[in-house]
Symmetry: C2
Subunit: 79 residues, 2 copies
């Protein structure tokens, strides 16, 4: 089963990578861009007995290895 | 308007970061994980006259700055 995990900064946490891209875009003339936030996108292919099991495994992995719970939050999406 | 861009490796392109996570998960006992692929997730807040305009701007930015067209592909998602 294919599970997608999206890891983003928690609201209020600074995102220097996003700010750098934002500055560069403005310097290139993209005046309509208000904000850029950069996160991670992870596709996990796993064996699971059910959708719930897949979701549970993905959340466990994300919590343990993919996201830093201090500054990041994640959501799991099933196809 | 909020636009989301997902950047992933093209099929067949090696993903060392994903492979490293996969190895670590297996060593931690996650035997059910078959594959892990890691990409980027970008949220762009922009002023646009229409959904089409927002999509066009996001695609232009992605092509220019967010994705490496040699090894990566991207898709734009509107809320």
């Amino acid at each position: 089963m294919m599970v997608k995990v999206i890891v983003t900064h928690k609201p209020g946490v600074l995102d220097p990578q996003g700010q750098t891209v934002l500055q560069s875009l403005r310097q290139l003339g993209h005046r309509d861009i208000r904000d850029v936030r950069i996160g991670k996108y992870i596709e996990i292919e796993l064996d699971a007995t059910s959708r719930e099991d897949a979701e549970r495994q993905a959340a466990q992995i994300s919590d343990k290895m993919l996201a830093n719970p201090v500054i990041e939050t994640f959501r799991v999406e099933l196809e």
